[in-house]
């Protein structure tokens, strides 16, 4: 599916993710693929994109891929090198439009687990926990997830642990719990396609397939039923220019090499 090996899957996902961002918005990014997507958007169609890091970097022109969200590259040529309190408060107050997150597993309402596999008290596998993810998923107007391994083990009926809120149990559940009104998961990008959430049910719904992927593959790689609309789009392949910029952003292939 890599168009004569001109680009790899990660590069496709980065381009699709970058395409969701625009020049008039602000975005919270984490390390890895979300940051690569933000940097790509900034260097192509969205030069005005305001990139914010949870540790305090505000509006940098990121020179090369930071390894940590607190790396000094996260405030290179920035408007401000501030604090977590400052940027988390700004997002709680409504200043942050998009939040980019990854996740180990997701359910049909876009709730995500990054804490434990198995029982919390006696975990089969201990994962790092929320970090800033719960805050990003709670505060940003629109949360975008990048999960490069969609399967029946990662798209599950019931999560072992809800680390970060999606739509919780369905329509109105976020507001009922007290989360800021009117926000929530917006898009989920996997190796197979791009999903949104059905307005009426708040359940995961297929929007776009990546080149060469079938609806059957999408459904086979999920434990829960995905809503499949009559019309499904196909995502655009990365341009030569996008691939060139991606390799400039991540010359060592730390992210896009995977």
């Amino acid at each position: 599916m890599t168009g004569e090996n001109r680009y790899n899957l990660t590069e496709l996902l980065a381009c699709v993710a970058a395409g969701l961002l625009d020049s008039r918005s602000s975005v919270f990014v984490g390390t890895g693929l979300p940051l690569v997507a933000g940097m790509l958007a900034q260097r192509t169609h969205a030069p005005g994109l305001l990139i914010i890091f949870e540790a305090g970097g505000i509006g940098p022109q990121v020179p090369a891929l930071p390894i940590s969200v607190g790396d000094s590259r996260t405030y290179y040529k920035a408007s401000a090198a501030s604090s977590m309190h400052d940027v988390m408060s700004a997002s709680q107050a409504g200043y942050v439009d998009y939040g980019f997150l990854g996740g180990a597993a997701m359910d049909c309402y876009g709730n995500v687990n990054t804490t434990v596999i198995g029982d919390w008290s006696h975990p089969r596998a201990r994962l790092p926990g929320s970090g800033g993810a719960n805050d990003v998923g709670s505060f940003c107007w629109r949360t975008i997830y990048l999960m490069r391994q969609q399967s029946t083990r990662t798209f599950v009926k019931k999560l072992d642990f809800i680390t970060t809120p999606g739509y919780l149990t369905g329509p109105g559940a976020r507001e009922h719990a007290g989360l800021p009104a009117g926000n929530g998961p917006y898009r989920v990008i996997t190796q197979l396609g791009v999903y949104g959430f059905d307005e009426a049910t708040r359940r995961l719904k297929l929007l776009v397939l990546h080149p060469g992927v079938t609806v059957q593959q999408v459904q086979d790689a999920s434990e829960f039923e995905i809503i499949i609309p009559d019309q499904v789009g196909i995502s655009a392949e990365p341009t030569v220019e996008q691939v060139r910029i991606l390799r400039e952003i991540d010359p060592r292939g730390l992210v896009i090499g995977k």
Partner: protein, 338 residues
Amino acid sequence: MSDPIKNSGELIGWHDPDENRQWVRENKSRQLVDKRSTVPEAIRKYVPDGSLLAMGGFGHIRIPMALIYELVRQRKRNLTIFGKTAVHDIDILIGGGCVSRVEVAYAFGHELRGLSACGRRAVENGTVKVTGEISNAGFQWRFLAAAMGVPFMPVRSMLGTDTLRHSSARVIDDPWSGKPVGLVPACYPDVALFHVHRCDKFGNAQIDGIMVEDYELARAARRLILTTEEIIDHEEIQRVPWRTVIPFYLVDAVIEVPFGAHPTEMPVTYYFDEEHIAHWLEVSKTPEGTSAYFEEFVFGIPDFDAYLEKVGGIRKLTHLKQVLKLQPDLPTSGEGVS
């Protein structure tokens, strides 16, 4: 108003605000006194076994590694760590057998560098207990509440999730809007360890780059130990007092330790020692490799100076400064001081 909803996370680091005010009144000096000390003495004096500990910095950034290695060297036991994005520090401390409990916002991972073999092993086999979960903002606002001397901070994240259910936060109805809101309890670490760019002998400190949550943490902890790249004259502090992010009365000990954050990054000063971090991540995959690491880099040598020699000495450290400076137009350390 409905009764508050309690969650199951263990409440740690909390004090009644009046009890803490009294403690501050009796224990924290308001005098400009010389607080210079040594790494072994400061750790011996302020970090008994069983302490509740938090580190300044974030992940692999500005981590007080000289103090961390000394905790291992003095074989501290049963420490509780506030895992407010604790990465390299907690990994070394767990590997060194110093930790028994962690409250987790983010731990047992190394961001882009992968997962922590050593931390995960300890939680999965029960050696280290997770007391509760929280988010990064939640943790930092626990410190903010303590810094302000108020009992809690209202928070609008975590609601509706298992992160909240396994936290020590409670949920009440906001008396004004009527909407549910989370309350995170104030958190007063027994001790916080920081590495800063420069401070005077009284503890007035300047930090370059982002503060992350250190403004709040420095004010929340009962005891604060600073290692610093450089001790500067008090007159330098007075010349640009707006650069002081930690005033002296918060600080208990000051130790000059150049490269005290190695192998983590000291913003605008030196970069990560990627080679040494990779070495740790590799050897810590097994308990044997972990022990061998501590024999080589802690127990087998007298102090942090010897450690710096061992990891490559002046040649390596100069290189780490250069790696950082190779990025064009980065501000140099201390810019904005004059």
